[in-house]
């Protein structure tokens, strides 16, 4: 059996037996194959030594005697879980508010940046300033927008993972710990994590540098540190 065939069979057997976290389980066998193949074994050898997919899959199905915890499907547990859900729901609502706020700010800064760079003033929201300064501030706004957008992304992933973990926790409570708990924290891995980190660093640097230069340019042109007074920005 080749590696592909083995995985297809194992996956379909696990599905048939209604096992949870199939991807997580398969990843262990992926690693097993990777190690063995790099040691010079053939795919057929590795598959044969692993054991038949049907037998492996069957070992993931817990028999009644295997469950150490007692299933606590009682009224008290149900009522407790119900109140826990209310608390969780309130928490998620708060987080949803935060996400919306961050996303709106990201969008606002992105629009402001584009307006500043393209020198278009819709609805007279851009105060008067020389274009050289406006471009620099515009780029810094885009940088800030990206920082905020990345925060939104990270937060949304984190909340998603928390909801998954919480659903699993409820299931564990009712089934007597039949399934392993899921991690509460979201984990970015491999290249994704690197790309995320790099983009965040670059956008923070862009924001800080362009803001500083923009400020310096505007202050020089106006001949005062508080250049907004010179151009009467906040005076109606």
């Amino acid at each position: 059996m080749t590696r592909r065939e083995y995985f297809n069979q194992l996956k379909s057997e696990l599905k048939k037996m209604d096992v949870e976290d199939i991807e997580d389980i398969l990843s262990e066998y992926e690693q097993h194959f990777a190690f063995k193949l790099s040691d010079g074994h053939t795919e057929e050898e590795v598959a044969a030594k692993l054991g038949a997919p049907q037998e492996i899959a069957a070992q993931y199905v817990l028999e009644k005697g295997d469950v150490t915890g007692k299933p606590e499907d009682s009224w008290t547990v149900r009522i407790g879980l119900f109140f826990a859900s209310i608390g969780e729901g309130a928490g998620y609502l708060l987080l949803a508010g935060l996400v919306t706020l961050l996303a709106a700010s990201a969008l606002a800064f992105a629009v402001l940046g584009i307006l500043l760079i393209s020198d278009i003033d819709i609805a007279q929201i851009i105060p008067p300033m020389p274009y050289s300064g406006a471009v620099l501030l515009g780029v810094s706004c885009l940088g800030l927008a990206l920082v905020l957008a990345l925060c939104v992304y990270r937060l949304v992933m984190q909340v998603g993972q928390m909801i998954k973990a919480s659903i699993r926790w409820h299931k564990r409570m009712l089934s007597g710990a039949q399934y392993p708990p899921l991690p509460w924290g979201y984990h970015l891995s491999g290249t994704k994590a690197n790309v995320f980190k790099r983009t965040l660093q670059v956008s923070i640097v862009v924001f800080v540098i362009f803001f500083t230069i923009g400020y310096a340019v505007l202050a020089t042109k106006a001949g005062a540190l508080g250049f907004w007074h010179v151009w009467n920005w906040f005076v109606r």
């Binding site: 690693q31 030594k49 692993l50 070992q59 710990a177």
Partner: protein
């Protein structure tokens, strides 16, 4: 050997391996299959069961030039469970050993 019988003992062996240090799945599988005659794939379901029983936890560790490895680590509960089960098993094995020896002498 009977698989159900072996499963309990294998759980104990996995806990004992993890008592010394955290290890990743393949390491455990290699170690056990070198000493005990089992299919290579048998260890992973055991690890998962130990995790859902709260005896071990897992964490991912980035390795240079490869996907992150999933490490298994003994929890406090796992540690105390191991100490208890280990003592129980050794006492049990000793008695069974003596019984089997007597049986042999009787035959001879």
């Amino acid at each position: 050997m009977n698989i159900q019988y072996k499963k309990g003992v294998l759980e104990l062996c996995v806990l004992s391996l993890l008592k010394k240090q955290d290890r990743y799945g393949y390491e455990i599988s290699e170690y056990l299959s070198r000493h005990i005659d089992i299919a290579d794939g048998t260890v992973y379901p055991i690890l998962r069961k130990l995790k859902s029983d709260g005896l071990v936890t897992t964490y991912l560790s980035e390795e240079s030039g490869g996907p992150p490895r999933k490490y298994y680590s003994l929890t406090l509960l796992g540690r105390s469970m191991y100490d208890k089960d280990c003592a129980d098993y050794l006492a049990f094995a000793k008695i069974v050993g003596e019984l089997l020896k007597e049986e042999r002498y009787d035959k001879a």
